[in-house]
């Protein structure tokens, strides 16, 4: 029988760029979702606001603190550069978080003293198809599971899109 996760408490996403955490958490049935983004680009902000999760966007930090205050302690999911995450980590005490998770690119230095353990996860380890790796830090211990469904780029390339034909000799 399938088990469905049903976290009913508040969840906060703090993102420097595209808030991909928000879409993932929406897919994991988190309904009390609040997204705070430091959008560097108005184009990216417009795209997010146009999406189904645009409604979760909170414009200012004070608004976020106020709206979360009445909901209980949130789980905070963070993504962005090391410097962005350090800045946000210093502010998260305002939210009285139940748990904190930080995802940064592998080359970023976080040095977060509150982290219980840090681990590097490659996309391919969880069944993905990019060569990227990301550092995961959390103030709680986690047990990551691998994915049984693995795809390859060849499975998603659209074979009805034309291009420059290559000879068999690779010219």
């Amino acid at each position: 029988m399938a088990n469905f996760l049903a976290w009913e408490g508040p969840v906060v996403v703090l993102s420097e760029g595209w808030p991909s955490w928000s879409f993932t958490l929406d897919g994991l049935n988190c309904t009390k979702l609040f997204t705070y983004c430091d959008f560097k680009s108005s184009k990216v902000k417009d795209e997010f606001l146009f999406s189904s999760l645009g409604r979760s966007h909170v414009e200012s930090w004070s608004d976020l603190v106020n709206v979360v205050a009445g909901q209980g302690s949130p789980i905070v999911f963070m993504q962005g550069s090391g410097s962005f995450c350090k800045t946000m980590l210093a502010k998260t005490c305002d939210l009285l978080p139940l748990s904190l998770v930080v995802v940064t690119r592998s080359e970023e230095e976080l040095n977060w003293s509150g982290s219980v353990e840090d681990t590097l996860v490659h996309h391919v380890e969880v069944g993905g198809m990019t060569d990227g790796a990301w550092s995961i830090s959390s103030n709680r211990n986690l047990s990551l599971e691998t994915s049984g469904l693995r795809r390859s780029l060849g499975m998603i390339l659209q074979p009805v899109n034309s291009g420059k034909r290559m000879s068999e000799k690779g010219v």
Binding site: G17, S20, T24, G27, S52, V126, M129, L153, G154
Partner: protein
């Protein structure tokens, strides 16, 4: 960097890539072309409904997609982490974050220690 093929991994963080793709109109040869935005979204595990919304926003505003998601962790990776966090809070047993090698050899009969207050 040259074009990537179906067996290659997608270089993370890059919005513009050349791919060698099969083409139904040719017998054996591959064609060289730019990766499509939809293919890039698939590679980063962007859910179909989100893909549709992004494409619609691009169409309505007559601007190309920002493809900003390539600078972030892909969906499958975040889902694995998100599930671990939520399961840990919903079933609070202090499981340890395993190393890469440990994860490959996960024991199915791991005993859950008593729940701590």
């Amino acid at each position: 960097m040259g074009a990537i093929e179906g067996v290659d991994l997608v270089p993370a963080g890059r919005k513009h890539l050349k791919v060698l793709s099969p083409l139904v109109f040719t017998q054996d040869d591959l064609v060289l072309r730019d990766i499509l935005p939809g293919e890039l979204m698939d590679a980063y595990d962007v859910e179909v409904t989100v893909q549709d919304a992004l494409k619609e926003a691009s169409r309505i505003h007559s601007v190309p997609l920002s493809l900003a998601f390539v600078l972030e962790a892909p969906g499958k990776l975040l889902t694995a982490v998100g599930q671990a966090v939520l399961k840990g809070l919903l079933n609070p047993c202090p499981l340890k974050m395993e190393s890469k090698n440990d994860r490959a050899n996960l024991a199915s009969d791991k005993i859950c220690p008593p729940i701590s207050p």
